[in-house]
Symmetry: C2
Amino acid sequence: MIKLSNISTRAPEHLKEKEVRQETEELVDRLGDLQQRMCAEKKHAVLVVLQGMDGSGKDGAAHKVFDGCHITGITYHAFKKPTEEEFAHDFLWRVHKVAPEKGMIGIFNRSHYEDILIQRVHKWIDEKRVEQRMKAINAFEELLAFDNSTHIFKFYMHISYDEQEKQLLQRMREPEKFWKHNPGDWEERKLWDQYMTAYEYAINKSSIPWYICPVDQRWYRDYFIAKTLVDALEKLHMQMPPLATK
Amino acid sequence: MIKLSNISTRAPEHLKEKEVRQETEELVDRLGDLQQRMCAEKKHAVLVVLQGMDGSGKDGAAHKVFDGCHITGITYHAFKKPTEEEFAHDFLWRVHKVAPEKGMIGIFNRSHYEDILIQRVHKWIDEKRVEQRMKAINAFEELLAFDNSTHIFKFYMHISYDEQEKQLLQRMREPEKFWKHNPGDWEERKLWDQYMTAYEYAINKSSIPWYICPVDQRWYRDYFIAKTLVDALEKLHMQMPPLATK
C-alpha cells in the first residue's frame, strides 16, 4: 500500500544535478532510437500516462522526455473538461478512441483517472460509481495490454504542497507564464488532502502498477521518466526488420 | 446453461402468421414513438446486437424492426473484416468508438463477439485469449450499462442448419440476391458445430444476458425483436421534456 506522504518529492540526496542532466540527454536520445525500432517493428504499443496536481510539470515532462522521438511515432492527448459529446458516452469512450496503435507511443496528459479524481473529490459521483469505474479502468488497461501488446507506464507526478505554491505563484509573476495561470487552480489546492486520498486509492487499486515520480526538481523528473521508459523498452529487444523481398 | 440445439428455431405453434404480422406493424410504430422520447430525454442509450450465422437474417431484421424510427436517432454499424488500422488496436477499439451516445439507438450487425467466434473457430487465437476477451467483453458491456445508462439487447439469430441451406441457395438462384452470395459462406457452414459451441460459450459466459431469437420464419423474427425492445423500453417510462423557459 502506497502512502504518498511517506515518499519524497525530491531527488535522492546523493545525485548530482549536472551528471543527471547529462545522463538524461543520453536517455532522451536512446528513447528516440527505441521508438524508431518500435515504429518499424509494429509489435508493441506504449502508453504513457502523466497524472498529477496542477503545477506538477506534466506538460514539461511530455516536452522534454520525448524530445528525441519522431512526431510520426507519437500521439499526444491532453484531456480537458469533457465535451458535450464526450459526456454523452461512458467515461472511457474518449480515452479508448485515442489509445495508441501498435508501433506508436501515446502520451496522455491527464487521463481516464480524472474520472475518479476531480469527479470524486467534488462528489460529482458517488462512492459506488468510483468503485465501478476503478474496476472498469483495470479491465480497460488489461485489455490494452493483453490484446494489443500495449506497455502502460503511469506516472504519478509527485509534487509537494509547498512546491505547488511556488509553481502557481510563478505563473502569476512571470509574463511568459501568465497563460498557464488559472484562478481555479488555487481553489483546487484547498482540496489537497482529498486529492491525495483519491490518488492513493487509484494507485493502490490499480492492477497495472504506477511509478511515483518525484517532481520538485524538474531535472530529476525528466531523468526518472526517461530512465524508466528506456530500461523497460530495452528489455523488449526490438529489432529493425530485415529488407522485404516481396 | 443454454444449449442451442434444445431451443426451437421456429415460432411457437399456436401463433398465426397474419395476426403476428399485424401486431408487429404496431410494435414497429410504437418503437418509433419510444425512440422519439429517448432522443428528446437524452437519459438512456440502447445498443442492439444482431449476431448469427450467415443467412440468419441480420440485415433484414435491422431493416424491418427499426422502420418506424427516425434516422436522426439511430446509428448502424456492420462489422466486417477489421481494417489494418483496426487490427493495430485491441479488438474492442473499433466497437467502443461507435457505442451509442445517450438518446440514441445503436445497431450492431455482427459485433465484438466475432472476435471470440470466427477467430476461435478458425483457431486464429488460443483458448487463453478467448477467456481474456470474454472477460473484457463483460467489463465493456457493464461499463456501457453503468456509466452511460446503455440498455443492451443481444439477439442470437437462431437459424436451423436446414434453413441456412435454403437461404444460401436462394442467394445463388434469385438474381436480386446474387450480391449477397459469398462462396466463403459454404466453407463456414462446414464448421457449423464448432460455431454452435463457440456461440454457446459466448451466450453462457455473458454477464448481460442474450435473447435467443428463432429466425426460420422471418415474420416471427421481426415480431420477437420488436416485442422485446418495446416491452423493455416501455418500462423506462420515458417522457417528452417540458418546454424550456430559459
